[in-house]
Symmetry: C2
DNA sequence: GTCTATATAGAGATAGAC
DNA sequence: GTCTATCTCTATATAGAC
């Protein structure tokens, strides 16, 4: 209650991240100035440094948070019994999760170049951890004879690339509903590996 | 023969584009200065403006040239008779073409945001023209009963997204040869649409 | 065609008042 | 916690000498 006038720490912090997310996605990290972010938040540029030590940390926190969310959400999903069901779960989860946060997805892919080497290594490690979950499913399915995949590593990357593509065109309220999109993509993934 | 000392128009022009291509791909358009490009070329920054009216034109020319090359190379490919053969031709052509010029491919995808609206519209038109070639193949195959595709537009984008993914990991001299990579991806595309 | 020099603008980040 | 003011650096682009 008894707050200093003009003190909005708990409000401003999230607003800074939201503004940065939106602006980085629209124009790219390097093209967005701290002044422009401050403008969107409604503060002066200097005030941003109460919430981030520098611009790089702002980008890294967004990407790190996105990858953490991804791995955590995946871990909370129910586990199916067969490789085929696991693959369907993964495909539908991936589409759903990524369509729910297009800006964070976009940044996490496009701005890898603008991370410092240390930050890049951290994000890449998280990404590889996620991809390895799919590869494990493919290997299990191949070893038990239900999948026909030439190379599990390449098939992993091919499936993820295909599923990621949905973010380039899907708009909610468009021609197709989310369940329809999930079904179409799952159909293609299913056929591609059997 | 009788040239002015220090005059290298026919040499410097291509070198400017090469340096810009490499630097834009590595660091991103917005993060690369004209001074940095000039440094790579071995001239002063002012000299670059003999070869491009501004930085934006430099980016646009690279992307425009890439899309022109793509459509021209595609037009020169032999035309197969059946939709299935056409799809195989397209898939293999796409992989081969894109793996031959990874930097231009990377820029043409990543730097769309940094084009002016007019330049963006031009590039997008060329991209759609290329994608429509694949969609035509898919529609022909579906209409003649050889392909089983739920939605030709989405399948077009899904296939292209999957094929584009090869550029994120392939390195010549690696574990797999180009023909092997083509065969693996064609196998997945083939199964996904039949 | 390239150079040096510069006009003009905007960047990231910090200091100190309130 | 936010403001104003500012330090320092770098950006794109142009002008004019050679």
């Amino acid at each position: 209650m008894a707050r200093t006038a003009g003190s909005h720490s708990d409000i401003t912090g999230p607003r800074v991240r939201e503004a940065a997310l939106s602006l980085f996605a629209q124009h790219g990290y390097a093209a967005v100035s701290m002044r422009r972010i401050a403008q969107d938040v409604g503060v002066q540029a200097g005030a941003l440094y109460n919430y981030t030590p520098d611009k790089q940390s702002l980008l890294f926190d967004l990407m790190r948070g996105h990858m953490d969310d991804l791995l955590q959400a995946r871990a909370l999903e129910p586990q199916s019994a067969t490789p085929l069901d696991c693959l369907e779960d993964f495909s539908r989860f991936h589409i759903r999760f990524h369509l729910e946060r297009p800006l964070a997805v976009f940044i996490s892919y496009m701005e890898l170049r603008n991370l410092t080497p240390e930050n890049f290594a951290t994000i890449e490690d998280l990404r590889r951890r996620y991809e390895s979950e799919l590869e494990t499913i493919l290997r299990d399915g191949r070893d038990t004879g239900v999948f026909d995949v030439a190379d599990t590593k390449i098939t992993t990357l091919a499936i993820i690339a295909m599923l990621n593509g949905v973010n380039t065109w899907y708009r909610s309220g468009g021609r197709l509903s989310l369940p329809e999109v999930e079904a179409i993509y799952w159909g293609m993934v299913h056929k591609a590996v059997t």
